[in-house]
Symmetry: C2
Subunit: 192 residues, 2 copies
DNA sequence: CTTTTCTCTTGATTTAAATCAATACATTTT
DNA sequence: AAAATGTATTGATTTAAATCAAGAGAAAAG
């Protein structure tokens, strides 16, 4: 239980056996079936989720009812509305399962306690945020600076598993495009 | 010296007089004239900069020579190519002064040392990354989900000082638009 | 196993933004 | 003070993406 999470943690910050036992006492498990929500916008995000198995997405829904995907998550990734988690404000995003999923949850109270009792947890958190920030900055740079063809090719090169595991219309949503446009972008690339 | 930086730090994590004195020994100063570079893409980002005074921008330049602004910075903000700073890889971004600037620099070696000698520095860093991550996620959400009018109004509401202090064509670049389009967006808003 | 839903593609048309071009005004620079 | 540079607006035209619409194949549900 919690194998992948502990492995992920130890890769970033190595734990002693005692620390690992302590950490485990703060973790809980959750299983989700395809299409079930982990979080709905307007609710408070009371835990962040490490994905042990399965595939998730976070997204907004606009006035016209269209989903805009903010983030994907598969095994080894963290997913949540961090804004809501950290501030206690209502979530802006929905989070649900694209495939059946097994999650490790760290609640806000567990998170706050861990920051106090386990200094390595703060380092783990900092490294996660560093990585997440850098990934997001690259995504933003790509949106602002590159053509659709370049953006799609960068995306598939950087996240081949995401590109293959999620349906194409979700990739389009993630890129801020209609499914038709992404289909045509792919065609232009394949012709070239 | 370093007044604003120390104030910013203390607001996030309160320091004792001894800790503050220790922290100061790791800081250096730098002044930049308008249009001078702090960093050029391809170089290694060897320090991040806290802005004590002035205005900065980070940006990419595409094949056609067009600037794409990634981030603005004014008094109290941090600016750098964090990707390059953290990984030691060549920077993707240029950083230069839009107004004459006074900076507090924390070099990579100072950063690494501070993480070891001053636990509160790790907390400070974590909180900075949390805030930066959340701000960037909101920007991305806005790009993917909202109309240009909404995006511009959100931007001016959230960062009134930036909107007023930087020329409009830079705001356009930050939004991924041409200056002409932003001019027309503003006109549509004012008519409405 | 068969009906329904989901997924992707393609075509025609509309719509929004980029581009090209000109001008006016403000601010640096010399 | 004059020249040069930077900044913002407006108009005409082109270009790229969204929208509307249809259909075909695959996957999921009953």
């Amino acid at each position: 239980m919690y194998e992948l999470f502990l492995q992920h943690f130890n890769t970033k910050v190595a734990l002693t056996a005692e620390e690992e036992a302590l950490l485990k006492t703060y973790l809980t498990q959750k299983k989700l079936r395809r299409k079930q929500y982990l979080l709905q916008s307007g609710d408070i995000c009371k835990a962040f989720a490490f994905i042990e198995k399965g595939a998730m997405k976070s997204y907004t829904v606009d006035d016209a009812g269209v989903e805009h995907i903010i983030q994907f998550g598969i095994e080894g990734w963290i997913i949540a509305d961090l804004y809501s988690f950290l501030t206690g404000e209502p979530a802006l995003y929905n989070v649900d399962a694209v495939e059946d999923a097994e999650l490790v949850l760290i609640s806000k109270s567990a998170h706050d306690a861990l920051l106090k009792v386990l200094p390595k947890y703060e380092t783990y958190t900092r490294l996660n945020f560093e990585g997440a920030y850098i990934a997001m900055q690259r995504r933003l740079t790509s949106i602002i600076s590159n053509s659709l063809e370049e953006r799609y090719e960068q995306f598939t090169a950087q996240y081949p598993e995401i590109a293959q595991r999620f349906p194409q219309h979700m990739i389009a949503s993630y890129m801020g495009l209609t499914p038709e446009t992404l289909s045509r972008v792919r065609k232009r690339i394949s012709v070239k």
